[in-house]
Structure formats: C-alpha cells, structure tokens
C-alpha cells in the first residue's frame, strides 16, 4: 500500500516538474507527451498492478510484475554496455591527449639540448 502510494506521489511530482520545464520552454511538446504517457502508465500500474498481466501474458510471461523486473534488468544491462563504450572512448581520448603532451614536451627538451 505504502509502496503504491509513494509511486503515485513520485509520478505526480515528476509530471509537475516536466510540465514546469515545458512552460519555461526548456523541453519540447513531444518530450512532454512522452514523459506524460510514461508517468501516467506508472500511475495506472500502481493503482492496478493486475493491468500489467495482460501485457505480460501477451509477450509470454506469467505475471506483470515479473515482466517489469525482466525488462528492468535488460534495460540496465544495456545502459551498462553503453556506459562501457563511452568510458572506453574517454580512455582513448585521454591517452591521445597525454600522448600529444608528451611529444610536445619532448620536442622542447630536445631543442634545449641542441643549444
């Protein structure tokens, strides 16, 4: 009961935040609608958890709650993978920066040696 209640509160809070952002023209109308739909879906699920069972049955999972957990795991893993890719790219950029600096400095040292 408490869990469902706080979920609804949180969703309403998120909708208000997004709407304010929209009023300030920080986010587009399509952004507002997609967020609105998402949070309304959350509220629906909170009020009637059984409603997800329909979708779950449709994709071949017993319970809606299970489907939710499965999807969360998949989405989290995908996020992890994306983060790994990004982190790898950062590492490579860092290396080329460090490399450039090292070569620049060495050139200076060698120029000094020659004099």
């Amino acid at each position: 009961m408490i869990f469902q209640f706080s979920l609804i509160i949180f969703a309403i809070f998120a909708i208000i935040r997004t709407y304010k952002q929209y009023r300030l023209q920080r986010v587009s109308a399509s952004w507002l609608t997609s967020w609105l739909l998402l949070w309304l879906a959350v509220i629906l699920v909170a009020i009637s958890p059984q409603s997800t069972d329909i979708l779950a049955k449709y994709v071949g999972v017993e319970r809606g709650a299970d489907l939710l957990v499965y999807s969360a795991v998949v989405i989290l893993y995908y996020g992890l993978y994306r983060m790994m890719v990004k982190q790898e790219k950062l590492q490579q950029e860092l290396t080329s920066l460090v490399r450039k600096l090292a070569i620049m400095e060495a050139k200076k040292i060698e120029a000094k040696k020659d004099r």
Binding site: M84, E88, L94, V98, R99, L101, A102, I103, A106
Partner: protein
C-alpha cells in the same frame, strides 16, 4: 638507416640506466617513455642520454609504446623501431639480429621469441600462461607463432605506420598480432634471450595478469 629503440618504463629508476645504455650501444637513438612513474625514472633516463617522453597520467605499456613509436617515426625519422623493455631482461646484443631481416628487406616486422633455441630460465608458471596464450592466439588470430607475448620487436617504418596500438595496457601484444594478420605484414621470429631474476619476477607480471590481458582483448572485440 636510422634505428630507434623505444623503451616503456614505469618506476624503473633502478634499472633504466642499464637497459637504456645497453640498447643504446646497438641503435642510433633511445627513446624512453616514462609513464608517470612515481620515482626518478625520467631524470635517470635523461642522464643516460635518452630522449624522454613523459606521460602526465599513467596510460599503460601499450600506450607508452605507441607514444614512443609515434615520436620515433614523426620526430626522429626512424627507419626501424625496436621495442625494448626497461627491466633489464632483454639483451641489447640481440638487437642486430632482430633488425637484420628488415635491413635485408625480407620482412616488415621481427618478433622476439623465447622458445626458439636460446634456453631461458623461465619459471614453470610463466611457461604455462604463455602456452595458454599461444593456444588462444592460434585459435582467435590464426597466426602461427612460437611466442605471443614477447615485448622484443623490430618494426620497419611501414609496419609502424600500419600498427596503431589502441589497447593501452598489456593486451597490446595480442592486438599487434591481430594487426599483423589484418594488414598482411610479413613477419619472422628470431630467438632472443630473456633473463628471469628474482628481481624481475617480483616486479613483473603475475599469473592473474594473464586474465586481465584476456579480458581487455575480448572486451576490445565487443567495443567498436
């Protein structure tokens, strides 16, 4: 023909003078890449007559080799680049026979091997790790070679321009083999003497690091 030795070094103030001078006897210029050492590696290398490149952040042996090789090709107009270790395990006296096949224009790259003749006093655990690496390389890269993870190499300018190391840490050795195959570079192995002492074993690679190499290499196959 300009021969340049590239020595990656991390916390090697005790050993860098000897190794830089040893290599220096057989090449025109020695380049030491000080990979953000916490000791005086860079200063010592300078007094040993080397060109010193300093990484402001530790980037690993693979990254250091690439930095030194870039510098040798772009700034020193090197014709042959020799990869050499700072820890004194390699013998400068092996350099002439390492570069000979390139001087004779027979191949693009020469790889040192610990398992062709010259008996080294390698401990058994190291032998086992290397044997596993060998098997893995033969399966994955399809390259037939007796020693996959030997840091002693001689590269022609052409192969240096074609081999760009992107695996910054220890997995670069596997990456180089992949690139040899991919870019169709002609290679040959030459026996080299690698000495194992209590001191190099204490500071060198552990059995576990073999797994890190494997992890880095596999990861690289999934990320672009």
């Amino acid at each position: 023909m300009k021969i340049v030795a590239v020595i990656p070094a991390y916390n090697e103030e005790q050993r860098i003078r000897n190794s830089a001078e040893d290599a220096g006897r057989f090449v025109d210029t020695v380049v030491v890449v000080d990979d953000c050492s916490k000791d005086k590696t860079g200063e010592v290398a300078l007094t040993a007559g080397a060109h010193v490149l300093r990484h402001e952040i530790n980037r690993g042996q693979g990254a250091a080799l690439q930095t030194g090789t870039d510098y040798a090709v772009q700034n020193l107009e090197a014709d042959i680049i020799v990869h050499f270790d700072a820890d004194g395990q390699m013998q400068g006296a092996d350099i002439p026979k390492m570069i000979e096949p390139i001087l004779n224009s027979e191949v693009d790259i020469v790889l040192g091997s610990r398992f062709l003749g010259a008996e080294s006093n390698m401990p058994l655990s190291r032998r086992l790790t290397l044997w596993l690496a060998l098997l893995f390389t033969r399966l994955v890269s399809g390259i037939k070679i007796s020693d996959t993870h030997n840091g002693f190499r001689a590269l022609s300018k052409y192969s240096a321009q074609n081999i760009k190391i992107s695996l910054d840490r220890m997995a670069h050795a596997s990456e180089i083999l992949d690139l040899i195959k991919l870019k169709n570079l002609k290679f040959v192995e030459r026996p080299v003497m690698i000495k194992y002492t209590a001191d190099t074993l204490a500071k060198g690679q552990s059995f576990m690091s073999g797994f890190i190499v494997l992890k880095d290499f596999i990861k690289s196959k999934f990320i672009d």
